[in-house]
């Protein structure tokens, strides 16, 4: 094995890993977006005179979580409870409730669980800081790999000659 093989091999594996990760991530993203488009239930029955109220209603039902079908918003879910909560949201918005009032109403009954934007508390810090920590750790690992890789590559002529001498010496000894 030559020294160039030693240093270039990890680099190409990392590149391969990153490109395959990128491809699979894009695939997942495309799938998630297309399935979300299919899941919308009919909202025709909810009529508004005020377009601002209508957009508030749509915003809310896409941020409130269905307690029964736990990984869907109340806009996505066909569950009877999701419909009840949509109806309640509709009535409250029609009556002129603000976004915060509707969210508070749901959280008071179903807990923080009911809202897809959890509040920042000590118990929820991991939700807010976890992704950041993962990115930082990832960046640190990549930096470390790149730096240690380039150090290995920057052997001077004299060092290369020394390395070759050591290798031949070792071979001589083992023979």
């Amino acid at each position: 094995m030559t020294t160039s093989a030693l240093t270039s091999q990890p680099h190409s594996t990392w590149r391969q890993l990153f490109s395959s990760l990128f491809v699979s991530f894009s695939l997942v993203l495309v799938l998630a977006l297309s399935s979300q488009a299919q899941a919308q239930v009919s909202l025709e029955q909810y009529k508004f005179d005020d377009p601002a109220q209508e957009s508030l209603f749509r915003e809310l039902i896409n941020e409130l979580r269905c307690p029964k079908c736990q990984n869907q918003t109340i806009a996505d879910s066909d569950a009877p409870l999701a419909k009840d909560l949509r109806d309640r949201t509709y009535l409250m918005v029609k009556d002129g409730a603000t976004k915060q009032q509707v969210v508070d109403y749901m959280v008071a009954r179903y807990g923080d669980f009911a809202y897809y934007r959890p509040p920042v508390r000590t118990s929820t810090l991991v939700l807010w800081l976890g992704p950041l920590a993962v990115v930082l750790i990832g960046a640190a690992v990549v930096l470390w790999r790149v730096r240690s890789g380039s150090e290995e590559a920057q052997l001077s002529e004299a060092e290369l000659a020394q390395l070759a001498r050591l290798q031949t010496e070792k071979q001589d000894k083992s023979e």
Binding site: K68, L81, D84, L85, R109, Y110, G111, W144
Partner: protein, 201 residues
């Protein structure tokens, strides 16, 4: 030179071990998730008084009940049920048993197919409830944060929600979990009644 090498190799071991440690931690975390029930949400109402409501009686819709039926000075159970719910049928016999033991249970009929069906159920399977609330559109259930049936709330003598149990009440979870809590509530109610008695005399 040799020292630098050993420190470098131990650093390398540390770096190699880190992903393993992280992986093991994640495995333990996910493994725990496998055995936890995500539907067991703790109620947002715990420690709070029951919401105000007015609901008709299931037998006689001209009679209205308010939240006063849950503030009797005694601890009680509030059981959410419906005839469309198979688990409710499974738990019904045990509720009858509890009622026979003298434990007060208030029934909240939740979005049933029809009132006639619900009344027929109570007439044929027995009625374990001291009061029967009829929540046709499920609007009061929303105030309780109900998201399915059956659900059973433990309510103390002051009408505060102490615990919400999701799923059927059966002999096992009653004796292991709910009965000890309920007995504690009964003792609290007794102590409170004793204090009131002491003040009066």
């Amino acid at each position: 030179m040799a020292e630098a090498q050993t420190s470098k190799s131990s650093l390398r071991w540390l770096v190699l071990a880190l992903p393993l440690v992280a992986f093991l931690a994640l495995t333990v975390f996910l493994l725990r998730g496998l055995f936890s029930d995500p539907t067991e949400l703790s109620s947002a109402l715990v420690g709070k008084p029951v919401p105000a409501f007015s609901l008709p009686d299931i037998y006689d819709t001209s009679t209205e009940h308010t939240e006063a039926v849950l503030k009797t000075g005694e601890p009680l159970l509030l059981n959410v049920w419906a005839t469309w719910c198979p688990t409710c049928r499974a738990e019904h016999a045990f509720l009858n048993e509890l009622a026979a033991q003298g434990i007060p249970i208030v029934g909240l009929n939740y979005k049933d197919d029809s009132r006639a069906k619900a009344v027929n159920w109570l007439n044929t399977l027995g009625d374990p409830y001291v009061v029967n609330l009829f929540d046709e559109r499920g609007m009061v259930a929303i105030d309780f944060g109900v998201y399915g049936a059956p659900e059973t709330f433990l309510i103390n003598h002051e009408g505060e929600v102490v615990y919400r149990h999701v799923g059927d009440v059966n002999a096992r979870n009653w004796s292991q979990l709910l009965a000890p809590m309920f007995q504690q509530l009964q003792q609290q109610a007794k102590a409170a009644a004793g204090e009131r008695g002491g003040e009066q005399s």
